[in-house]
């Protein structure tokens, strides 16, 4: 029985990670095609990728969009969560629902809606419009995480701060936010990860400057190459690093 359950676990991991493992393995392929047989280890594709100006520019764009859009989503989500957790407003249940609703809408629909909107209002597509799209998908996430983390404990500390003379922005900046440091970090890192990997919105809402997933997609149009595997591995490496950072900085310390 014990052996069976270990086997089951191993199979599950293989199922999840085999594609990634293959991707990473063939990024080292010493040949022109990322398919078996494996002809030997080479770093030339990485060299090529790292020397590719367009790709590196896209990497920078992705990073910029991820950080800026996540910061905006974080601040907006924090303010919304704080307001709805602290003040009883008529229809606050409805407001919460509406804030979380975009989570259930497919990215494609979000992107199409925004595309229509930008066309109608004459806003030109750029990294900014892709960033707006990422705020739309990450705001519900940040809101949900932070709203769940706000308890009575903080409420009383906020009351004490007000009593001691803090203005409302000081209560938020000096008491509420630092007391929520861990959930804030979790929401931020998750948002960055989502934005970093996101393709559809970035594809439909950018034009000349594009993010990394969009750049990779245009590379794929000219056929498979170990170079795309190398880029994919790099993207995966960044995502894994983010998740590990999140684990070490946030979840470890929270215990």
């Amino acid at each position: 029985m014990r052996v069976l359950s270990w086997l089951y676990l191993a199979l599950a991991y293989v199922f999840v990670f085999l594609p990634v493992a293959v991707l990473v393995a063939f990024s080292f392929q010493d040949g022109r095609l990322p398919v078996p047989p494996f002809k030997g280890v080479s770093f030339r594709w990485y060299e090529k990728v790292l020397g590719d100006g367009d790709l590196m520019a896209a990497l920078g764009h992705s990073f910029l969009v991820a950080v800026v859009s996540s910061l905006i989503a974080l601040v907006l989500g924090f303010l919304a969560a704080h307001a709805l957790a602290r003040v009883a407003l008529p229809g606050s249940a409805l407001m919460r629902g509406v804030l979380i609703a975009p989570m259930t809408v497919s990215y494609l629909i979000v992107a199409l809606g925004l595309l229509n909107l930008f066309n109608l209002t004459g806003v030109r597509l750029s990294l900014w419009t892709a960033g707006i799209g990422h705020v739309v998908i990450n705001l519900p996430l940040c809101f949900a995480i932070l709203y769940a983390a706000m308890g009575d404990h903080q409420k009383n500390a906020e009351r004490a701060a007000r009593d001691l003379g803090a203005a409302e922005w000081q209560v938020l900046a000096l008491v509420s936010a630092p007391m929520l440091a861990m959930p804030l970090a979790a929401a931020f890192f998750l948002s960055v990860t989502f934005s970093w990997d996101e393709f559809i919105i970035a594809f439909l809402l950018t034009r000349f400057d594009v993010t990394l997933p969009v750049e990779i997609w245009s590379m794929l149009k000219s056929g498979l190459s170990p170079a795309t595997n190398a880029v994919g591995s790099l993207v995966f490496l960044v995502s894994v690093t983010l998740v590990i950072l999140l684990e070490i900085l946030v979840f470890r310390r929270a215990k």
Binding site: R159, A161, R162, D163, L164, G165, A167, L174, P178
Partner: protein, 332 residues
């Protein structure tokens, strides 16, 4: 650093329910007042109205003669010590205590100095660099006290500050609260439902019930000469004996009609208000005294609770000749 508080005909309603009903109270500068009552009597609501956490539906709150209407907590000369301490967990004790001074724009070095002095006042000298989670409940409450006092409020409000502490620590903190209040002279308004705590610390006890003030006075006055039956029974155990036409169940008494209230410890063998021979039903040793249930021989249905001296442990069935040392008659 002290001021008087005037509560003038204050009412507080939430929808259909009246939490405070036309309450008036004068608190002198430097007085230690305890608002005492069962939960739901409106004592915490009254404290919140003084602190500015709520506005009264009717009436006015004045502190130092100044009308507080429309002033938020941060603009009132009051600070509050909360029951759950409400410390800032991400700050050191020094930063916690200095928070109010920081909000008032006091320079860092100066407020650090003041915070250390306040920590010393509450017996936490040299612990400024610790964080709240390293402290016990009693120590946290001291930090909360130091934090509220650091801004030198005219009036300190304490919302059941000792409620979460164990009995021994609570007694110790009561003594300290009282001595700190004596030293700094600030007006203290303290809310509790524990009548022993109220008697231990108060200059004056304000007994509240169902949104009204039942009684107020020094602890001795409220305990020995309560103005209402509610106060009499809330302040401690009491035997209630009906009197009609100069006649008590155990015999004639020279007292007006009403309810005769006798504290268990006021009943002794030598008391001048004679009850007469009483049969002991049961008795138990309580450490400081012997607690016994007795019934007068002339009125076997009237059961009285009596605290007898530690040395005398009566057997059930024994007959004692008892009388009351102090008593009060309240009209019903």
């Amino acid at each position: 650093m002290t001021a008087d508080v005037q509560i003038q005909a204050v009412s507080q309603r939430f929808g259909a329910s009246t939490v405070l009903d036309n309450v008036s109270l004068e608190i002198a500068a430097g007085e230690f007042v305890v608002l005492l009552g069962p939960s739901g009597c409106g004592k915490t609501t009254l404290l919140n109205l003084i602190g500015g956490f709520a506005e009264p539906t009717a009436g006015a709150v004045r502190i130092g003669g100044r009308d507080m209407a429309g002033l938020a907590p941060q603009h009132r000369p009051t600070t509050t010590v909360f029951q759950d301490y409400a410390l800032f967990p991400h700050m050191t004790l020094r930063d916690n205590v200095a928070f109010g001074l920081r909000m008032r724009g006091v320079a860092k070095a100066k407020r650090g100095e003041k915070a250390d002095a306040m920590l010393a006042l509450v017996g936490l000298e040299g612990r400024g660099d610790r964080r709240p989670h390293e402290l016990s409940g009693g120590q946290r409450q001291r930090v909360a006290l130091a934090r509220a006092l650091a801004v030198e409020p005219d009036v300190l409000l304490l919302d059941e500050p000792l409620g979460a502490l164990d009995l021994k620590l609570r007694r110790q903190m009561q003594d300290e609260l009282k001595s700190i209040q004596r030293r700094i002279g600030t007006t203290f308004v303290h809310v509790t439902h524990d009548q022993e705590e109220a008697m231990a610390i108060a200059d004056r006890i304000v007994v509240m019930n169902a949104g009204r003030i039942e009684d107020h006075g020094p602890p001795r006055e409220v305990y020995l000469h309560p103005k209402t039956l509610f106060t009499a029974s809330f302040m401690g155990e009491v035997n209630r004996i009906p009197i009609a036409g100069g006649q008590a169940p155990f015999g004639p008494v020279a007292l007006p009609d009403g309810t005769l209230c006798l504290r268990p410890e006021a009943i002794t063998e030598s008391g001048p208000l004679r009850i007469g021979p009483c049969r002991v039903l049961e008795a138990a040793f309580f450490g400081a005294h012997v607690r016994a249930h007795v019934a007068p021989v002339s009125a076997p249905d009237l059961k009285l609770v009596v605290h007898l001296p530690q040395s005398a442990m009566p057997a059930p069935g024994q007959v004692l000749d008892l009388g009351a040392e102090t008593w009060g008659v309240l009209s019903t």
